[in-house]
Symmetry: C2
Subunit: 255 residues, 2 copies
DNA sequence: CACATCTGTGTACGTGATACACATTGGCAT
DNA sequence: ATGCCAATGTGTATCACGTACACAGATGTG
């Protein structure tokens, strides 16, 4: 039971830890091909349409051939996540001040998930380890170096930012999806457009006063508000908090 | 094709929108039973073990009986999420100051997901609409009322907090899982304990300087650090940002 | 009492992941 | 050269699972 190429977990293969095999037939199918094909399918028809069979067919190989390069479908999904997110664009470092850079990073991040909503459907299986994910981490940390915070704080802040970004982006994308489903929808029933409308219809009166107040204020009726703008406002709140941390630590920032 | 009980989407059934049927045989199986059974299975053996067949068997009904109460498995999962998270405990309002309350809320939230990690495996399919989720929303918003911010800002801040919490919690739980998998693990290969170790082994030198700096500083070697403490620190950063927002808005808080 | 209607059941089907055994390939040691 | 062996790609088989469908029993209404 010699260890096959796929046994070195897909993720590790990404880092080219693969020692060249000395013997055996040379592969004609590559991990990169597989992931690329899977991405194309997901982009075209969504993640649900990505099956091992279909990926293989698109490449002109048998289904089982994939298993020579990927231990199982879960790993393939993880690889798709890393590849689908891609490397952070250099645009991010085009501006010069750390807050501005973070804003660009956030915007770009949102755009990626808007372009590939299926990324959110991938069950995350562990801490980020793919090359692209690490690249984002590197970019974020290097931006934060300008704050003057120490390494520990920088990581903490970055995790904070990442958590917020991913959570927000997920919310935006889900909302958009739900709206889309209701609009193009199948149910001939009232295709309610907004979260607000739905809540108004469902909630029993008097039980959730704080929510009702918000509904009454019309907060949930997404009035064409720009996702980007909202994301940026949330980001600013966090960045203000980071500045407070900097003050507490007695660092000044701006290099 | 009369509209069956299940056709009124599971989620809506939770709000007791069900008009009592005037005719037909009375149900002996209830939605609540189904969800409860599913929770028990997930608690015992993880979400992957929750199959329609197994849930039904546990209840002593046929598999297809479930479909009289739930339109499909996806809906069942959504219901499981709402039920699994549960209502926010009153502990949260036991303290008196809004920041303290948020800290309690965060701690409690983390504990829930630590107790039921499988909640994170449930694919979220839309904006939160279950009663318990709304209850959390209500709790959060009512805490924020003390800040003096207006309804719009309150919702925005709460979404910000929720995004952060969920993202962080996910990270913690994933880390714990990965560590556990490596420890109890199957691979007789080096069962690396920490993220730091793994990164050190994988990363090519020189390509990700900011990450390397962090690794060198030992930031990723999770030295028994308390998840709760880390969560609370991140939360404080955000809450500082919220206070900055309050200042900008010219409100004082503390009712 | 007949009817409409809903609940629960058994069976059947389709899909998808993946285990397994085999044919093939190509470098390496002799 | 030549024979060996590990690794690649294939075909077939299996198994689990979600769910469509048609039927049987129950139950309240006209």
């Amino acid at each position: 039971m010699a260890d096959s190429r796929a046994d070195r977990k897909g993720v590790e293969a990404l880092w080219r830890l693969e020692r060249q095999e000395e013997t055996g037939s040379r592969p004609t199918l590559s991990l990169a091909d597989i992931v690329a094909a899977a991405l194309e399918i997901a982009d075209a028809d969504g993640l649900a349409e990505v099956s091992m069979a279909r990926v293989a067919k698109r490449l002109g190989f048998s289904t089982m051939a994939l298993y020579r390069h990927v231990p199982n479908k879960g790993e393939l999904l993880t690889l798709m996540f890393d590849a689908g997110v891609g490397a952070p664009p250099s645009t991010i470092l085009a501006t010069s001040e750390w807050r501005a850079r973070m804003h660009v990073l956030a915007r770009v991040y949102l755009e990626i998930f808007q372009r590939r909503p299926w990324l959110l459907d991938i069950p995350i299986t562990g801490p980020p380890m793919g090359p692209n994910n690490i690249h984002w981490l590197d970019t974020g940390l290097s931006i934060l170096k300008e704050t003057g915070l120490d390494a520990g704080d920088r990581v903490e802040v970055f995790l904070l930012l990442t958590s917020y970004l991913l959570g927000s982006v997920r919310l935006f994308v889900e909302m958009a999806r739900a709206a889309e489903a209701a609009a193009g929808g199948g149910s001939p029933v009232a295709d309610e457009k907004g979260y607000g409308t739905a809540l108004r219809r469902l909630l029993p009166a008097g039980r959730f006063p704080a929510v009702e107040a918000a509904i009454a204020a019309g907060v949930f009726d997404d009035g064409e508000e720009d996702d980007v703008a909202e994301l940026q406002r949330g980001l600013d709140i966090i960045l203000d908090g980071v500045e407070a941390l900097m003050a507490r630590r007695g660092v000044t920032g701006e290099r």
